[in-house]
Every structure is written in structure tokens, then in C-alpha cells.
């Protein structure tokens, strides 16, 4: 019965996205005619294949008797919006004859391919009979893999914008911070689930610093050091903030102790403070955040353009393909939300936010329903990660905090991010339908 609801929701999503694609196709008809000579319908090929992919996944879930029916339509909507806006930006840039138009069109195609890769990963995770609890057994291997990736990036990474974040393996280039994020969340959940039993007896202390448990302080300090390394070596404030925020969330879920969150936040602030005094790059970022006008044709240009896009969007937006967010630098990655806000207005932007939050809430729901402590922490942790990541970039775009370069999950252009986030959904779905063995300790 409920599987039919998923099917219905997916059709609704396809209808919404299909309408969007039709509008974009109409708006930039000459662009598509020039881009796909004689076959401008090819614009619809990618999105149509995507829809087909989602239906296949829905079928697999039905076969596997998955009780979760909301996750797939939500993710399909987010991915679809990402692709829709990439197409719209490519069209807009081509029509405005911007020099970045060809690269935007290429990004649109690349993102479709990335979705294909992510879809394969997700489908494989759903078809193969595996149990997410296997992850728990390999938690230290997972942690070391994450550390190794960071280390390799530090040594071999390609420098872009003064940051060393891309690992180029000749045939494929990817940004290790995205997989590292997922691996560390899995590790944290497994670690805290294992130590959880010991916790229940240590409760009862009051005060911020009394009765601190080294089992929690240990990982807290280790992860803090790791995050500091990401700030100081990779100079990636965004990833550091999102990793640490997610980690504090999981820690709180695992221990039910607010004090670790407070201590962790203080430690993070200290680290950021030191980074601020040490690095001109961080100072520049903060200066731009404080007053983008100072250099509105240089460093502050991007944020000023984004604010104009918000202003132009108003309540109901300029309409899909009605604004001109394509002029914002890095609009396809950091600034995609500004583009959506300009075209769809406050209403559209808030609705999108609602979709993201519903997805996060759904992950929490999966966690709550799982009888297994690891499953609870894992699903909850994945939810927190997505929420924090979304917040870090959205708050940056709206000049609430300094802008950092993390992606808006499922929506921003970025192959690694998309694949990793789809894998994340795969894990969450596995948690949702894997019935825990009877011998789990009763809680």
C-alpha cells in the first residue's frame, strides 16, 4: 500500500520537474537548437533517464520490502532541482553570451554523468544483500581510510583557489572531503554505539567540566585536531565546520550530554580564532563577509551579485529562467541557492528548505525506528550531517556567516558530492529495511 504512495510521490516530483524543464526549454530555445543541432529534444534525455532511474530504484525497494517511502521522492526532487537549475544556468549564460556558457553546459552534462555513477552506487547498495552493521566491524579501517584520504590530498592534491582540495587520478578527479565526511560519520556512529553501554552508568554528574569521560573527550579532541588540520593545512573552513558540527550532533545523540557540545563549540571557536590571526585568507573571507562593498568588483563581487539576486527574487521570484543569476560567479556550486531564490523567490526558496528539512527529519525518523543503537546513531548522524552542510552553505550565501565553499547537498554542481550523498541515502535505506537480529541487547 505504502509503496504505491512512493510511486505516486515520484510521479508528482517528475511532473513538477518536467514542467520546469519545459519552461527552461522554451525560454532558451535558440540556445538548445544551437547546442544540439536538429535535436533540441535531447535536453530532456538526461532528466528523463534520471526519472527512469528513480522508478527502477523504487522497484528494487518494493522487492526488498522497504518500509521507507518518503526518502526516494525527496532525494529525487532535490537531485532534479539541481539538474534543472544547471540546465537553466547553462541556457541563461549562453543567451547572455557570457564567456562561461560553454563550461556551464559541460557542467550540466558532467553532472548527469555523475548522477549516473551515483545511481549505480545506490542501486548496487540496494540490490546486493548486505547489512549496514558490517560497517560497525570495520570502523577503525574506515577511520584510517578517511585519514589516509586527507593525507594523500595534502601531499598530492591539486591547488585551486589557494586550497588543495582536489585529488587528480588522471582519469578521474574528485574532492576527498566529501567521502571523508561520510566515512567519519560512519566511524563516529559505530564508535559511540559500541561505547554506549558504558555510558549509562556514568551519568549523574552536573557542571560543565566535572566528570568528563575520556571515552568521549578522546574522540572529541582527536576530531578537533583533525578539523584543525583541515583548516590549517587545507584551509577549508567550510568542511571543517560541517564535519565538526555533524560530529557534535552525533556525540550529543550518543551521550545525551550537552556539555560536550558546548565544550566542542568553544574548542572550535578557539581554533577558528587562531586561524583568523594566522591566515590572510581567513581574514579576507571575514572582511568580505563584514563589508562586501569594500571590494565589490573584486573579492566581494560574488556575494554582492548574490544579494542582488535575492533582492530581484522577492516573494514569488522572477520566474524560472526569468532572473539572471547566471552572472554570479560560481553560481553552479556555492551560489546555486541564490539562483533558485532569484527565480523562485522567497516562497520557492523556503519550500526547497522545507524539502531539505523533511529529508533530514526523515533520516531522524529512520534512526528512531531502528531498534539497533548503531542504526539509530548512523541514521541520525547522517541527518545531522546533511542539515549542517546545508546550513553552512546557505548561511554563507545569505551573508549570515562568512562564505565557504561546501556544496548544497544533491543540488550544487559537484560530482563527488552527488555520488557520496547518494551513497549516504543508500546506507540510510539499508538501515531502514534491515531487520536487526534478535540477539541485539535490549535497550
Amino acid at each position: 500500500m505504502s509503496r504505491r504512495r512512493e510511486f505516486g510521490l515520484l510521479l508528482l516530483v517528475f511532473a513538477i520537474l518536467g514542467l520546469g524543464h519545459w519552461v527552461v526549454w522554451q525560454a532558451y530555445l535558440p540556445v538548445w537548437r544551437a547546442g544540439y543541432p536538429g535535436q533540441d529534444w535531447l535536453v530532456f534525455l538526461g532528466p528523463a533517464l534520471m526519472a527512469l532511474g528513480w522508478l527502477v530504484l523504487s522497484g528494487i525497494l518494493t522487492v526488498r520490502r522497504c518500509p521507507e517511502t518518503l526518502l526516494l521522492p525527496l532525494v529525487a526532487l532535490l537531485c532534479g532541482i539541481g539538474i534543472l537549475f544547471l540546465q537553466r544556468l547553462a541556457g541563461g549564460a549562453a543567451e547572455a553570451e557570457l564567456s562561461k556558457a560553454p563550461s556551464l553546459l559541460r557542467d550540466y552534462h558532467k553532472q548527469l554523468v555523475s548522477f549516473g555513477v551515483g545511481w549505480l552506487a545506490l542501486a548496487a547498495m540496494l540490490v546486493v544483500k548486505w547489512d549496514y552493521r558490517a560497517l560497525s566491524r570495520f570502523k577503525y579501517s574506515i577511520a584510517f581510510t578517511a585519514l589516509g584520504l586527507l593525507l594523500i590530498t595534502t601531499v598530492f592534491g591539486d591547488a585551486a583557489n589557494g586550497q588543495q582540495l582536489t585529488l587528480n587520478l588522471r582519469f578521474i578527479a574528485f574532492q576527498p572531503h566529501d567521502p571523508v565526511k561520510l566515512l567519519l560519520v560512519v566511524f563516529m556512529a559505530a564508535y559511540l554505539a559500541e561505547k554506549r553501554e558504558l555510558l549509562s552508568f556514568a551519568a549523574g554528574h552536573r557542571g560543565l567540566l566535572t566528570g568528563l569521560d575520556f571515552r568521549y573527550m578522546g574522540p572529541l579532541v582527536v576530531l578537533w585536531l583533525l578539523v584543525m588540520a583541515i583548516i590549517f593545512v587545507h584551509k577549508d573552513l567550510g568542511t571543517a565546520l560541517l564535519l565538526f558540527g555533524a560530529f557534535l550532533g552525533i556525540l550529543y545523540l550518543g551521550t545525551n550530554r550537552g556539555r560536550y557540545v558546548v565544550i566542542g563549540l568553544l574548542m572550535f571557536l578557539v581554533g577558528v580564532g587562531v586561524a583568523y590571526t594566522k591566515f590572510e585568507r581567513v581574514q579576507t573571507r571575514v572582511a568580505i563577509w563584514q563589508n562586501p562593498w569594500e571590494d565589490s568588483n573584486g573579492a566581494g563581487y560574488q556575494i554582492c551579485q548574490a544579494l542582488m539576486a535575492f533582492g530581484n527574487g522577492r516573494v514569488i521570484g522572477a520566474g524560472l529562467a526569468g532572473g539572471y543569476p547566471e552572472r554570479i560567479p560560481a553560481v553552479e556550486t556555492d551560489m546555486i541557492y541564490a539562483a533558485i531564490s532569484e527565480d523562485l523567490g522567497l516562497v520557492g526558496a523556503a519550500l526547497l528548505l522545507g524539502v531539505i528539512l523533511t529529508l533530514v527529519g526523515r533520516l531522524f525518523h529512520i534512526g528512531l525506528r531502528s531498534p539497533d543503537p548503531f542504526g539509530k546513531l548512523l541514521a541520525g548522524g547522517l541527518g545531522v550531517t546533511l542539515a549542517v552542510q546545508a546550513w553552512v552553505i546557505l548561511a554563507g550565501v545569505t551573508k549570515l556567516i562568512p562564505l565557504t565553499g561546501v556544496t548544497l547537498p544533491f543540488i550544487s554542481y559537484g560530482g563527488t558530492s552527488l555520488v557520496v550523498n547518494l551513497a549516504l541515502i543508500g546506507i540510510a535505506l539499508n538501515v531502514a529495511y534491515t531487520t536487526p537480529a534478535v540477539d541485539t541487547p535490549a535497550s
Binding site: F310, G311, N312, L346, L353, L357, L400
Partner: protein, 595 residues
């Protein structure tokens, strides 16, 4: 805006902390707490979004709809070039120019706009206008591009009339380079042109853009980076007509540095007037320290003309046989003729070949080479030989001294090498000797030594080198290092102390006596005795035609303040052609108002 954001953050943190405390106190389940916390931060975000889209929406929408933000570059005033008294040789003056913001021209209006601009007279025809348009499209649409400068009053008034029908076209006052002296010190000062593609590539990191001016010659080129200064600009909000509504941020420009020269414009002018109508060069040095008081090359050209659109005739003249762009004072190589007899005399005196009682007998010819006075001078002392510039006497001296010592003396006076003013291009000249002949596949003969003694053979010197020679006699035997630039901004370029070249005081004294006699009774006796000039004429034979006329001299003879060298190409006799020019220069230089 920013205080508001900070307040929002602080308030939300406080509220969040309070809510957390309340939650803990009420033992709210942790999942609910987490959901609440996330909801809270997203509500803060949503408020922020609403702030931009609703409260600040009007403001930002206006900014965005008409692309109303513009970065107006304010070019840095280029540094001045001034003479030793501060009189400007290169300065800036405001002028109107036309700019085009291509992004403001509606796509269908391009052709109309171009036709209008042609009708106004900004472009000669549609083809030229289209070429300019191509050029504008290389820049981002919001960036103004200069499409015309140094406009005539007529074009300006017609532009102003029609400005309302010319979308994207703006008139702007900007400083342009102005050379108040027109052709004064033209070869030293140099001029600017718009930067070309090669220069742009070579200076890619210095922030030049197409349309920027760039030093093409002289000091304008040599000190381009110092003169240029740092560009500033303003972020402005403008209305649809391009009127500035308000300025959002300003970055002041930093003016270029002032270059102070050792030149004295009054003397420079006198030198240029003296050379007017001839081809040649004049150099005036301060014999005490080597300061270049004047350095002129003729023909010269009006720098203001070269900075603008150069006509075809002008271009043909510039590249023609007169070679006006060559700085003859430092790059021209001429046989020194009798001027070199000073060197011969110095070599002979130093070698002890000329005693106070030595007399030379001139019968008009020696080893087949004639004296200029075919009938002969008879018996001459050294003083008389210099005064009358007797070739036979100096050939005899050269023979006695030998080419090795003679050429060595020439080099001691700085011939055959550049003088070391790095800021101007220089020629080395040639001091020939048997080794030089060998290197050039020739055989050195006795006749060559004799010819060298009277400043012929393969000898080649620049007017600046000759001025240095006469300065060395004037200051008692010290070779000066010419200095042209006194300071750049705050940096001083101190004069280099003149070097003694090891002449006996007696040598200098006896040559000096001869040089005074040149004016008193010799080849330049028509000069005003009141100026107390001492000097030497030269009439250099050359393969190009009529003799080159030389005069090198200094004044006042008892306490020299200026040393002058003048060359007039194919000017004939040095005493008749060059000496009066030197006289007029010295008259100007010694005027109490000038010095």
C-alpha cells in the same frame, strides 16, 4: 547591515542556549532537542533570507535590474618630469574623452549608434567605427572603454548635444599628458602611446589594460613604472542616464613620482634655438660635477603631436632620412676633427715631447697630408698650434707620441666607451689603433697615426663624449660622469665624483692657454671676449659630404661654470658655424637670472 547580522547571531545564540538549558531541565528527549536545535538555526536562516528578499529587496532589486553598479577607474596622475628649477617638461592637463559602456547599448541599436557617432565626426567612416566596436567587445559589458580622446571643441559640443540619443556613451574629463615645452628636450622626455599587445603581454602582472598609455620613448619609457603611479577607483551607483547617484566605496589613486632632471630649461632652449634649422646636437655640462644642463638633438619634434593621432606626413618624416628620432647628442657618431687635437696635445705633453721651447714648422704639408692652410703656418708654439689648429704641428706630435700612447690618452678622456648615463641610449664611438685595424681586417700605417692625431682616420665620438673632454680640461683634469636624473620621487640620484685621469697640472695649464688663444686670436676669434670663452674648433671631414662643424668650449675661462659641445652636421667650418651657437648657449647659461 553588518551590525544587524551580528545582533541577529548573538541574539540567536543566547536564545538557543536558553532553549537548550530549558530542554535539559525539562528532560526533553535528545532527538527532539536535536530537531529543535536544527529547526532553530534554519529558522534563523530563513529570517535572514526574508531580510534580503523582503526588507532589503527593493534596494537590491534596483541595484540588479539596471546593472546600476559601476566601477569607475580613476587613473593616477602620471608623475611630472621637471628641470632643475622645477619647471615642468612633462605634465598633465584635463581633457575630454568619450567612453562607451557596451552593455548599456540595446542589441538592436548598435548600427544607429555607430551611424550617429560617424555623423558627429568621432569616426571618419562606418568601417573605423565598427573596428572600434570590435575592440569594445573585448571588455565586460559594464566596463567603460575609451573610444576617443583629445577631442576638438566642435566634436565635444556636438556630442554633448546628442548625448541623450547615444545610449552607453559618456563624456569624461581625464588627465592627459601635456608637454608645455612642445619640442623642448624632446629626445630626453619621450612620449606616450596606447599600450600595444606585446607590451601588454610583457607587463601582464602590472595591471595594464588595453587603452592604457605606456611610455614609448625617452624617460617616459625608462621610468614608466615610477611615473605611472597606482590606479584607484570608485564603486558608484548610477541612474539610467549614467549620472552618479552615490559612491559606495572609494580607493584613492596614488600619483606617480616626479622626476627631477639636472637640465636647465633656459639653457636647453638656447641650445635648441642655436641648432634650429640644422641637424646636429649640443651638450652642456657642469664641469664641476657632470650635471647635464642641456642636451639637445636637432631636428626635434613636438611631443604633444606625437602623443595624439600622428598624420601620415609626420610619420613619413619621422622615419625618413633625417632620422629625427635618433638622439644625436648621445647616439650620433662623428669624426671629432680638430677637437681631438686637445687629446693629441695632452698625450704629447704627458710624454714630454713638447717642451716650453718646442716649436713646430708648418710648410703646409706633412707626409703628403695637407694642413688646412695650404701655404703653411710657419713656426708655431704649442699655444699657437692649438689657436690656429695647425694640422702639421699635431701630426708631428702624434708621430712622436705614437699611436699606442695617443689612443690610450683618448680612452682616458672617455672616448670609445659609453659615459654611463643609463637612462638614455648611447653609442660607444671608436678610438682606432693597430689592434682595432687588425680586428677589422685592415693594416695600420703611419698615415693612420697622423690622421688620428688630427681627429680623422676611423675616430668616432659622440657630442656627449666631446663635452666630457672639454669639461675635463675646464675642471683641471677630472673626467666627469654625466648625470641627467637628479631625483625620482624621494630618491636622490647623487652625482658621482669626477675622477682624476692623471694629467700633470702643467699639461692642463698649457692646453688651457691654447684654448684661450683659439678665441683670443685663433680660429674662433669672432666670439665675444666679454664672455671669456675658451674652446676648440673642429672641422671634420666625412664621407657624407660637407664637413661637420664642431666647437667645444667652456666659460668663464678663469673659473669655468659650463662646458659646451656643439656639432652641426655638414655645417662647414667649426669656427663659423658651431662657435656662434656655443657663444649663444654660454650667454644664456651665464645670465645671472638663470644660474
Amino acid at each position: 547591515m553588518t551590525p544587524l547580522a551580528l545582533t541577529l547571531l548573538v541574539v540567536s545564540l543566547v536564545v538557543g542556549a536558553a532553549l537548550c538549558a530549558a530542554g535539559i531541565y525539562l528532560r526533553v528527549p535528545r532527538m527532539a532537542m536535536l530537531r529543535g536545535a536544527l529547526l532553530l538555526i534554519f529558522i534563523i536562516f530563513l529570517l535572514r533570507l526574508a531580510y534580503w528578499q523582503l526588507l532589503q529587496g527593493d534596494y537590491w532589486q534596483q541595484m540588479s535590474v539596471y546593472n546600476h553598479l559601476r566601477w569607475v577607474r580613476s587613473p593616477a596622475p602620471r608623475g611630472l618630469i621637471v628641470d632643475r628649477q622645477g619647471y615642468p617638461l612633462a605634465t598633465n592637463k584635463p581633457a575630454l574623452s568619450v567612453w562607451l559602456v557596451s552593455g548599456e547599448v540595446p542589441r538592436d541599436d548598435w548600427d544607429t549608434l555607430l551611424e550617429r557617432l560617424v555623423a558627429i565626426g568621432l569616426f571618419p567612416d562606418l568601417k573605423a567605427a565598427r573596428a572600434q566596436l570590435e575592440y569594445c567587445h573585448r571588455f565586460p559589458g559594464y566596463q567603460p572603454v575609451r573610444i576617443g580622446s583629445r577631442l576638438t571643441l566642435e566634436i565635444v559640443s556636438r556630442l554633448e548635444e546628442e548625448l541623450a540619443f547615444l545610449p552607453g556613451v559618456y563624456l569624461k574629463i581625464e588627465p592627459i599628458r601635456h608637454y608645455p615645452g612642445a619640442s623642448t628636450a624632446a629626445h630626453i622626455v619621450g612620449y606616450l602611446r596606447e599600450i600595444n599587445a606585446e607590451e601588454l603581454a610583457a607587463h601582464a602582472n602590472a595591471g595594464y589594460r588595453l587603452g592604457d598609455l605606456f611610455g614609448k620613448a625617452g624617460l617616459e619609457r625608462e621610468f614608466e613604472s615610477e611615473l605611472r603611479g597606482m590606479e584607484g577607483g570608485e564603486q558608484v551607483e548610477v541612474d539610467a542616464r549614467g549620472r552618479v547617484l552615490r559612491t559606495l566605496s572609494t580607493k584613492p589613486s596614488v600619483p606617480g613620482e616626479t622626476i627631477t632632471l639636472t637640465l636647465d630649461v633656459a639653457i636647453q632652449r638656447a641650445a635648441e634655438q642655436g641648432l634650429h634649422g640644422h641637424r646636429g646636437a649640443a651638450v652642456v655640462l657642469d664641469p664641476a660635477n657632470g650635471d647635464i644642463l642641456a642636451l639637445a638633438s636637432a631636428p626635434a619634434y613636438d611631443l604633444n603631436v606625437l602623443s595624439g593621432k600622428v598624420s601620415r606626413q609626420m610619420l613619413a618624416w619621422l622615419h625618413g632620412s633625417q632620422m629625427p628620432e635618433i638622439n644625436r647628442a648621445t647616439r650620433g657618431r662623428y669624426p671629432p676633427g680638430s677637437v681631438f687635437k686637445i687629446v693629441t696635445a695632452a698625450a704629447a705633453l704627458e710624454a714630454g715631447e713638447v717642451q716650453p721651447n718646442t716649436y713646430y714648422y708648418c710648410d703646409g704639408v706633412y707626409h703628403g697630408i695637407h694642413c688646412w692652410k695650404r701655404s703653411g703656418h710657419g713656426a708655431l708654439s704649442l699655444t699657437e698650434a692649438i689657436a690656429h689648429s695647425c694640422n702639421v704641428a699635431f701630426m708631428k706630435q702624434a708621430e712622436a707620441v705614437g699611436i699606442a700612447r695617443l689612443s690610450a690618452m683618448g680612452r682616458r678622456f672617455g672616448f670609445g666607451a659609453t659615459t654611463g648615463i643609463d637612462v638614455l641610449r648611447e653609442s660607444q664611438g671608436t678610438v682606432p689603433d693597430p689592434e682595432w685595424a687588425k680586428a677589422h681586417g685592415q693594416h695600420w700605417r703611419v698615415g693612420d697615426t697622423l690622421q688620428t692625431g688630427i681627429g680623422q682616420s676611423a675616430l668616432e665620438v659622440t657630442p656627449l663624449q666631446s663635452a666630457r673632454l672639454i669639461a675635463a680640461i675646464a675642471n683641471g683634469g677630472k673626467l666627469v660622469h654625466p648625470r641627467l636624473v637628479r631625483s625620482v620621487g624621494d630618491r636622490q640620484y647623487p652625482a658621482t665624483e669626477p675622477e682624476l685621469i692623471g694629467l700633470k697640472p702643467e699639461t692642463v695649464r698649457r692646453i688651457t692657454r691654447g684654448l684661450r688663444a683659439v678665441v683670443g686670436e685663433g680660429t674662433a676669434r669672432q666670439l665675444d671676449p666679454a664672455l671669456r670663452i675658451a674652446g676648440k674648433t673642429g672641422t671634420a671631414q666625412n664621407p657624407g659630404g660637407e664637413d661637420h662643424a664642431w666647437f667645444v668650449g667652456y666659460a668663464p675661462a678663469h673659473a669655468p661654470r659650463v662646458a659646451v659641445a656643439v656639432l652641426v652636421e655638414h655645417g662647414g667650418h667649426g669656427g663659423a658655424m658651431a662657435a656662434p651657437i656655443v657663444e649663444s648657449i654660454i650667454r644664456a647659461a651665464l645670465q645671472p637670472t638663470n644660474r
